[in-house]
């Protein structure tokens, strides 16, 4: 198996197929830890992990925090949203402040693409990107791929449809990198106004008709639709979106009998999918959440080697 030599995790774009597989394999071992009575291992004892969240996020932050705690790391929250910190604070200044506290790992989320890279260039600590703008969200993609692999036994050749607002989705971008590297067959499906320019160059197919993917996909990954998209005129109405691109029981009849319904959460029930689909037999949405902790433990474990900055 390949060795892990990276100091930072910015995006799956940078990783090789073997590195992604190593994370998934390691995550498998960590999933078991979460099933024990004592859900904690001493692997990161004495290490300090900072959650630097410039954008509100409960789910991802909690998942990372739980992962860190299960690895016995000390965690500090440096979260802030809406305050002066989220906008207009010098990234390097923040970085220097954190560096002065001698932390080992920084989990960063920011509404501006590229902030983890700028941070990484300025500090000794390991950086894990927990979402930067619409650019990347590598651990979400890893947990999505982990869930597919666990359920389907493979990723190679899997037909995956990513449905919704691709334009504004960091989850979609990171998944596209990861899935295509592992040989999945990815089709994007969404309204013309929410498919970004030149995305086909990434080796994916694009359709605007749900029927093109409904019957053939092994996985239907639904993206969260932000309500603002209607005000920004990307869509006539949320109602129409739900009608054209939303998944309900009726539409699901056309799907494969072993299809997986995935969603990075939080779901807008009645928009991307109806409640009965979200809670239905094909949905693995809660498994994704469970797997998120294991994947993040794996990533943090692999990144905590004594390596100095590249």
């Amino acid at each position: 198996m390949t060795e892990w030599t990276r100091h930072h995790l910015y995006d799956l774009e940078d990783l090789s197929k073997e590195e992604i597989e190593l994370i998934l394999e390691t995550a498998r071992s960590f999933k078991e830890v979460s099933t024990r009575d004592v859900k904690k291992v001493p692997a990161l004892r004495g290490k300090t992990v900072v959650m630097l969240f410039f954008e509100p996020s409960t789910r991802t932050r909690t998942s990372f925090e739980l992962a860190a705690k299960r690895l016995s790391a000390d965690t500090i929250n440096f979260s802030s949203s809406g305050s002066a910190l989220s906008k207009g604070e010098s990234i390097l200044d923040t970085a220097r402040n954190i560096e002065a506290m001698n932390v080992d790992m920084i989990i960063v989320r920011h509404q501006s693409a590229g902030v983890p890279y700028i941070l990484g260039a300025g500090v000794q600590a390991s950086i894990i990107n927990a979402g930067d703008g619409c650019h990347a969200h590598p651990t979400q993609a890893l947990l999505d791929i982990f869930t597919m692999k666990e359920r389907k036994g493979r990723v190679q050749g899997l037909k995956v449809a990513i449905i919704g607002d691709i334009l504004h989705s960091r989850v979609a971008r990171s998944n596209i990198w990861g899935l295509t590297k592992l040989g999945a067959d990815v089709t994007l499906c969404g309204p013309t106004t929410l498919i970004p320019v030149g995305i086909r160059n990434l080796g994916v197919k694009v359709t605007h008709d749900l029927n093109d993917v409904l019957g053939t996909s092994d996985v239907l990954m639904l993206l969260r639709l932000q309500k603002e998209r209607q005000q920004d005129k990307f869509l006539p109405s949320i109602r129409e979106y739900a009608r054209v691109f939303g998944i309900n029981k009726e539409k699901l009849k056309k799907a494969k009998k072993d299809v997986l319904i995935m969603h990075p959460g939080p779901t807008n029930r009645g928009v991307e999918l109806t409640a009965d689909v979200a809670d239905g037999e094909y949905s693995v949405i809660l498994e994704q959440v469970t797997n998120g902790v294991a994947v993040r433990m794996a990533v943090m474990y692999l990144m905590s080697g004594k390596k100095t900055a590249e």
Partner: protein
């Protein structure tokens, strides 16, 4: 006291004399040009065969004073300008407060004279507070020292306002310079809309946001039979529209910046805030079109769009960082490195695009050439000297250059303004 520059290789837009010439300067004017002039009473300055250009002219500079003296002042901007070989610059009105009345114009002119390193011409706002609504008092602005008007930083969004403003500006004898960007189409874009913006997940500012305004302005100018100057053309399609307009005899002039003829949006992949400019860096096709536009004269001149920002302002994440790069000190070297060395422009053409053409556009009759009777604004250049762009090396307060770390060719050795040495490289 008279000055005699000896052994100069004079480069004018129209010709380059292969023989070394002497230039006699007196009372701020070039009084004689010729080989082997007698020393007489003049102080002699031997440039030993270096190239002497007419002082460079930049139609697009942000000096930030008044209001953001932490980014740049008239004094530091002046030092940066003369270090870059410029002897005349037009400063943009988007200061705080906006240069939209005589009082502020006079204050800028007064401070520029006190610094006294070069000729600084303020551009007045086209509309009060650059709000796009009420016209400024143009005759007042002209009397105070403005030669041009612009709402740079944004377009005049309302077409009727533009029509009336252009009509009125013609009467006042002022040039209107347009920043071409339809803000509704740009819709908060932070980089060029392209495959690269898709990869980076950044909000794209599409080419069409620029070209719709270029096309609209061309049509309005054509209708009014007046003239316009289009700022920082960045897209192949814009160049094409300007080329067509010129072929129709429509009075359009245009400028391009060194970053737009050098860098593509691939540079944004570094996430470095110094690659965030407005208009955004475009694709290789656009860069090539801008170069060709400069070559065939479709784009009349090079302007730096010098936009100094502090590191603190820039290092806040790409989305929140302000647009713009510092440019005065690298403009000439980029012209030599990227255009002359690559055979896009001859040295004469570069002098045209950086001195003669801007002088013509803004209406400076005794500038833009090394000629008897012209102002003794001169730039002595070693066109072969290579130098490394370093953050520590800027005379400007700002170091927000995307070219830091690059080795460029062509270095300003001496700058003379009105016969006085205002910059000397050591």
């Amino acid at each position: 006291m008279a000055v005699l520059i000896k052994n100069a290789l004079i480069v004018n837009a129209d010709k380059m004399d292969p023989n070394l010439q002497d230039i006699l300067i007196d009372k701020g004017l070039i009084v004689r040009v010729g080989p082997g002039l007698p020393d007489g009473q003049a102080r002699v300055m031997d440039v030993k065969g270096k190239h002497v250009f007419p002082g460079l002219i930049d139609l697009h500079v942000h000096l930030r004073q008044p209001g953001r003296e932490d980014k740049e002042t008239i004094e530091t901007g002046s030092r940066a300008a003369v270090k870059g070989g410029f002897t005349t610059i037009v400063c943009m009105p988007n200061t705080k407060p906006v240069i939209d009345n005589a009082m502020i114009v006079e204050a800028v002119v007064k401070e520029a004279r006190r610094v006294g390193l070069l000729n600084i011409i303020p551009a007045g706002a086209m509309t009060r507070g650059q709000n796009g609504e009420e016209l400024t008092d143009m005759f007042e602005l002209k009397e105070a020292g403005c030669l041009a008007l612009t709402d740079d930083g944004r377009s005049v969004a309302n077409s009727q306002t533009l029509r009336l403003a252009l009509d009125y500006a013609r009467m006042a004898g002022l040039l209107f310079m347009e920043h071409c960007q339809d803000l509704s189409l740009s819709s908060g874009g932070v980089m060029n809309e392209s495959y690269t913006s898709t990869l980076l997940g950044m909000k794209g500012d599409p080419v069409v946001a620029e070209t719709v305004i270029v096309a609209r302005d061309i049509e309005i100018v054509h209708y009014l039979k007046t003239r316009i100057h289009l700022q920082h053309m960045s897209a192949a399609r814009s160049v094409e529209l300007v080329r067509w307009a010129k072929s129709q005899g429509i009075q359009v002039t245009a400028e391009a910046t060194p970053h737009h003829f050098t860098l593509t949006d691939e540079a944004v992949k570094s996430f470095h805030p110094n690659t965030k400019v407005n208009p955004p860096l475009r694709t290789a096709v656009d860069v090539e079109a801008v170069r060709q536009g400069l070559k065939d004269g479709t784009i009349d001149c090079i302007a730096s769009d010098h936009a100094p920002h502090t590191v603190e302002d820039k290092e806040v994440g790409f989305d929140h960082a302000p647009f713009g790069v510092t440019g005065l000190e690298t403009a000439l070297a980029l012209g030599i490195t990227e255009l002359v060395s690559r055979g896009v422009l001859t040295l004469n053409q570069l002098v045209d695009r950086m001195s003669a053409a801007p002088a013509r556009i803004i209406g400076l009759e005794r500038k833009g050439a090394v000629r008897e009777g012209y102002d003794a604004d001169l730039t002595v250049v070693d066109i072969d000297e290579e130098w490394l762009v370093k953050a520590e090396g800027f005379a400007s307060k700002a170091v927000n250059s995307p070219f830091i770390g690059r080795t460029l060719k062509g270095k300003v050795k001496t700058t003379l303004y009105g016969g006085k040495i205002v910059y000397q490289d050591d």
